[in-house]
């Protein structure tokens, strides 16, 4: 039972985040921050798949977050609440506990489908085109939502607070943190499995030398699109969580500044480092909260931080190593399938 590392880590995190919230030891504010950290972890880890492991440059992650945010919120508010947008609730609010995670999944799938529209033309050409297109996606999303008056347009959309309250009314439990926790664990789980498999590792080969990969039987077109959809789908789920955390959203919440935040976290943590992404998401979220008194200057600090990073330490906190490379003694608790396989085969 050497590989008890992951379950232990999950258990400890559960104890730290959820139990104190449940017992009421953490104020609403602290719970809010914990949820935000979780959401940022999902966003960073998912964008790292594209910008880190695959070495592309997608600048539009916030737009897919927004797609998920709006999809999920529109569904929950429409189904479960009496709102000024949609009239009476369709379903009894007791079902919120069941409906909410389903809408998260739908939000993720919607975001993934939109990303497919973007990915197919973008990956046909090399070079800066993904950057340009994903930049454009930021604008298209904002502009599109602003033109749909039925869901609030530029004035925004709300009602998600009632959904969260409905869940709490049925069973008093820190539902938001719980679902965020679940999605965080899920995201890290599937991404880790993916990049440790031969199929997933091939995206690193694509980053290193795409033509050689293509000539070594790697279906680069398919792989890039699939990785992109996976990444944006997770961003969509993070968006759904985000919308229900802040309970009021508008198109500007998912625009270039938000995309920039996610970019900072990815490069701060280190391209292609899963543990780096987690660490930098935690650090950056807390940093941004601590800087709240700076008000608008916060928005100056973020790009400045990334510029300084690029000039002095572009590889980020972890470079492209994992925490396990820094503390090799922990490796025996966290080894990957392929490592175990090669060790086993060689021994025989």
């Amino acid at each position: 039972m050497k590989r008890f590392g992951m379950p232990t880590l999950i258990g400890i995190s559960f104890l730290i985040c959820i139990v104190p919230s449940w017992l009421g030891w953490f104020s609403n504010y602290i719970q809010f921050i914990i949820a935000l950290i979780g959401i940022n972890i999902i966003l960073t880890v998912s964008l790292n798949l594209i910008n880190g492991y695959m070495g592309e440059f997608s600048v539009g992650h916030a737009a897919f977050m927004g797609v998920g945010a709006y999809s999920s919120s529109l569904l929950t508010v429409y189904l479960l609440t009496d709102s000024s947008f949609f009239g009476k609730a369709i379903l009894p609010e007791e079902l919120a506990i069941l409906i909410f995670p389903i809408t998260l999944i739908i939000g993720g799938i919607t975001a993934a489908l939109f990303s497919l529209l973007i990915a197919i033309p973008s990956f046909k050409t090399r070079g800066d085109y993904l950057a340009i297109v994903t930049l454009a996606v930021n604008f298209i999303f904002k502009s599109a939502i602003e033109n749909i008056d039925a869901i609030g347009g530029p004035r925004g959309f709300m009602g998600m607070g009632k959904v969260m309250k409905a869940m709490d009314n049925l069973v008093s439990f820190p539902w938001l943190i719980f679902w965020t926790f679940v999605v965080v664990v899920f995201s890290i789980y599937i991404i880790r499995n993916f990049v440790n498999s031969t199929m997933g590792k091939s995206i690193v080969a694509i980053r290193d030398d795409e033509i050689a990969s293509e000539l070594m039987t790697v279906n680069t077109r398919w792989l890039k699109i699939v990785a992109f959809m996976l990444s944006c789908g997770l961003a969509g789920m993070a968006g759904g969580l985000h919308a229900h955390t802040v309970t009021f959203i508008n198109p500007s919440s998912y625009f270039i500044l938000q995309s920039t935040y996610i970019l900072v976290m990815v490069y701060l943590g280190g391209m292609g480092s899963l543990s780096g992404s987690v660490i930098s998401a935690i650090v950056f979220t807390i940093l941004l909260e601590l800087l709240k008194p700076l008000d608008v200057f916060r928005w100056v600090v973020t790009p400045l931080l990334l510029i300084i990073l690029m000039l002095f330490r572009p590889t980020g906190i972890m470079g492209n190593r994992e925490l396990l490379d820094v503390f090799p003694t922990l490796k025996k608790y966290f080894s990957s399938l392929q490592e175990r396989l090669s060790n086993a085969i060689i021994k025989s």
């Binding site: 454009a136 510029i307 690029m310």
Partner: protein, 310 residues
């Protein structure tokens, strides 16, 4: 749908297209020599507009700090233009020196340059917001507006100035690029970066000139924009600059002719679409056009695909 309607929109489109073309050329010039999309360029345009605002307001004696005398209009206008161009060019060059050049010399991955460019744009934008506040600024009236009426068509002298001046500037730029040694060097760098210094031309110097040219043109565009649409907003770099960027990409990034033509194509598309659809669709249309062109001809209308040796 009368002839007047079309002529009116035609003139508006020419004006709007001129702004886009002037700014788009700046993107293309830098891409030509550095193979870098200078994402900060749109905000250089904003810097130009705001610098023009401050200098113009100061010279017209409408500022907190007053001059002991009043300057006549024919002094204020060229002075404003020249000073704004110089200061804006300095900002552009500063960014190149502080960030792009060290990264280039270090042989840093292109990705880091792109990120830095993007971040500088945001830095300028949010820096503006933080330092100058959220309220809009009124650009000083450097020219007295004269309105001409022909039948159902309204034309202001400003619109005419903008269009004529833009053509003049683009003509000068074309001359510089095609006929002068500097221009030849700029074109040479875009074909073969390594060979140029071997021919005795300093690449750094040419890059400097490129940034000066691009930033000055953005500054001019900023002043003209402020004169035509006097409300300045902190995010105008994003609003207008990004659309110019689209124009450059549509025309084929790296092709100066493409940037100019792309500016007018996009300008016409936006003005005529806005004539039929609500104006909130204007941005959406611009970006949809971008995606369509990229899907059909990824290198843009005049762009040349770069071949890499396998």
């Amino acid at each position: 749908m009368t002839i007047d309607f079309f002529i009116q929109n035609f003139i508006n489109a020419m004006q709007w297209g001129s702004f886009l073309a002037l700014i788009a050329v700046g993107y293309t010039l830098v891409y030509g020599v550095l193979l870098l999309i200078n994402f900060a360029h749109g905000d250089i345009f904003m810097v130009g507009a705001y610098t023009g605002y401050f200098i113009g307001t100061f010279l017209l004696n409408n500022f907190e700090i007053k001059l002991p005398f009043d300057l006549p209009g024919w002094v204020v206008i060229p002075l404003t233009i020249i000073l704004t161009m110089i200061i804006t060019a300095l900002v552009g060059v500063a960014i190149e020196r502080i960030a792009y050049r060290p990264l280039r010399n270090r042989g840093a991955h292109r990705l880091y340059l792109v990120i830095t460019a993007l971040m500088f744009g945001l830095l300028l934008e949010y820096g503006n917001l933080a330092l100058l506040g959220a309220s809009d600024r009124q650009f000083p009236t450097l020219f007295n507006k004269i309105i001409y009426n022909f039948g159902g068509i309204t034309v202001t002298n400003i619109k005419i100035y903008v269009i004529l001046l833009s053509f003049l500037i683009m003509g000068i730029l074309w001359y510089i690029v095609q006929k002068t040694r500097w221009g030849m060097a700029m074109r040479a760098i875009s074909y073969d970066r390594l060979a140029v210094p071997l021919m005795g031309i300093s690449v750094d110097q040419i890059i400097l000139i490129t940034f000066v040219l691009g930033s000055s043109m953005a500054a001019l565009a900023g002043i003209m924009y402020g004169t035509a649409f006097p409300i300045l907003r902190f995010n105008m770099g994003m609003l207008v600059g990004w659309q110019a960027f689209i124009a450059a990409v549509v025309g084929g990034i790296g092709s100066i002719r493409g940037a100019m033509v792309g500016g007018y194509i996009l300008g016409f598309t936006q003005i005529f679409v806005a004539a039929f659809l609500p104006s909130t669709y204007r941005d959406l249309i611009a970006f949809v056009v971008l995606l369509l062109i990229l899907a059909i001809k990824p290198t843009g209308l005049f762009g040349v695909p770069r071949r890499t040796k396998v």
